[in-house]
Symmetry: C2
Subunit: 326 residues, 2 copies
């Protein structure tokens, strides 16, 4: 029987790639989105697929439906978006998670929750394994996202332990690709937009700070493979690692300097009149993080497949197709 | 005009002391409690006071009322209670906090939130100042309490920043005294109950591990003094310390070894036939924490006043008056 899937936040960057991948795998896909940061454009090509349904709904409000799998992706994820309305951001994480888990409990659906490397905060351990507890400020301006996501993990863990809900979580590290919001304020979209609009590429600091970037389909491959696993086998794997909660880091551990990224962007947009300029590092600079991906590799045989060069090429092609004054 | 106060969790250990103190200060006091860990006995002596009202209500469900001050204390606080129903525990923290903050936003009430030293988790900094971010596991068996309380702090901070709700928070360290639940499973109540029932006092490990203990009225004095401060003055104090969110540690920094505590308990119950026995330290041993109380001392001139000897005496008198097989 065709499996029914719900994707909350499915009109967003990652959700729309996931929806496309699941449709290609013959699932029946329902996307729920409030279109706050997600867009109809991201799912436009799927709208006429008879196995696809779109629901305009906010995940913080209760909802009902019979699904085999629920992927919970709803939450603004870039500081520029989530700091616009911190209260709604943390409510989306918390109430959205509660609504998903309650629905799963009552309908026996399997739940995937997208956690984030942000739960590691400003890490004192590098790279970060899943066993690292993180270093997060509870009352700072990023906390609405970080603490919302931390408590959402706790909710998942507790619904699993107390009610045996079949939950799986991935802590997603820095991800990029087509369907990113052109104004999400993160470095890859900033650089590409600047280069395409012939504005100078802004590097904060000397550009020697490193970041790791994961191409979006690498991530969605891992998500789908994780959700395909039979529960007992999966839990046994985690138990053999001394864990009672199924959670994986998924990201690309290869590091690039911000300067390398700027140079690669300009190399791929030879018509750009932009140069690279340097500015003072702001106080709230995004923090350096790099995943330890031993666990996901051991469980799924997964590792990133798309090199930065190729991923950037696809992202540039996507941004060229968007209205650049968006 | 008499000020109207709501205390969520007001039939609990700390809440009942706070209610009594506020009644003595001529406030109109409404206690809301679902009586999960709180008891009618704790507020029995106040029931016939014409300035006192009791509402049987669960803070996770919306409620309404016009109050000048709201003290949010509702949440099971001892591992033995909160681990009985982890999902309800974290929901109490999160939904309770949201309901309180929404009510405060609409009615312009001032909000006091009881946070906890548990948000510091297993601290790597000792003693802990308010600026320490903590070391907490998101997916462990204590997380329902720790992460629920962390995200509740975040909600408070965000309602203050985004909507200017007048919020104040205290991170409460280990507190004891009359009205503690005799079976809350924490060391002071364990020792007193064991001694009164002529069962041996159980020390885990060699008893050289230290703890700090705050007498409950020391805490409630600080809570009331903090809530009495005019907003502008209070915010200026925090700004002068580089903080934009009003939060204080309140606890007793004096440390005792577990062995000293056991000995003091037996000294005060000379009729007890109990001895001290030693058992292996369990894996999930409560963690050592000690507050840095510089900030609360600077702001309120507050420091603990009740010595352990006197506090233990009062606690013993209380436990003697309860039904010991409770």
């Amino acid at each position: 029987m065709t499996k029914k899937v719900l994707i909350t936040g499915g009109a967003g960057f990652i959700g729309s790639h996931l929806a496309k991948m699941l449709l290609a795998k013959e699932y029946e896909v329902t996307v729920m989105d409030n279109l706050f940061t997600g867009t109809k454009t991201n799912i436009y090509e799927m709208l006429d697929n008879h196995r696809f349904t779109f629901i305009l709904h906010d995940v913080t409000q209760p909802f009902w439906g019979q699904f085999d799998l629920i992927y919970n992706l709803a939450c603004p994820a870039s500081p520029i978006h989530y700091q616009r309305n911190p209260v709604e951001t943390i409510k989306t994480s918390l109430l959205g998670m509660m609504n998903v888990l309650e629905l799963a409990l009552k309908t026996k659906a399997r739940v995937f929750h997208t956690s984030t490397s942000e739960i590691y905060g400003d890490p004192e351990v590098h790279p970060q394994p899943e066993s690292y507890w993180g270093n997060v400020n509870t009352i700072g301006t990023r906390s609405c996202y970080d603490e919302g996501k931390r408590a959402a993990e706790t909710l998942c863990a507790d619904y699993l332990r107390e009610y045996n809900v079949d939950v799986r979580m991935i802590r997603i590290f820095n991800t990029y690709g087509p369907n990113m919001h052109p104004k999400d304020g993160r470095v890859i979209s900033n650089f590409i937009m600047q280069a395409l609009q012939n504005r100078d590429l802004t590097i904060y600091g000397d550009g020697s700070q490193t970041r790791s970037f994961q191409y979006v389909t690498d991530l969605t491959e891992a998500m789908v493979a994780f959700m395909d696993l039979e529960k007992r086998t999966m839990m046994e794997f985690f138990k053999s690692r001394g864990m009672d909660i199924p959670i994986l880091n998924v990201g690309n551990p290869e590091e690039f300097t911000i300067k390398q990224l700027a140079e690669e962007t300009l190399r791929q947009i030879p018509e750009s009149k932009s140069s690279i300029i340097y500015q003072t590092l702001p106080k709230d600079d995004p923090r350096r993080r790099k995943p330890d991906i031993t666990l996901v590799n051991d469980l799924l045989g997964w590792k990133p497949a798309v090199p930065l060069q190729e991923g950037i090429k696809n992202a540039i092609a996507y941004f060229k197709g968007t209205n650049l004054r968006l």
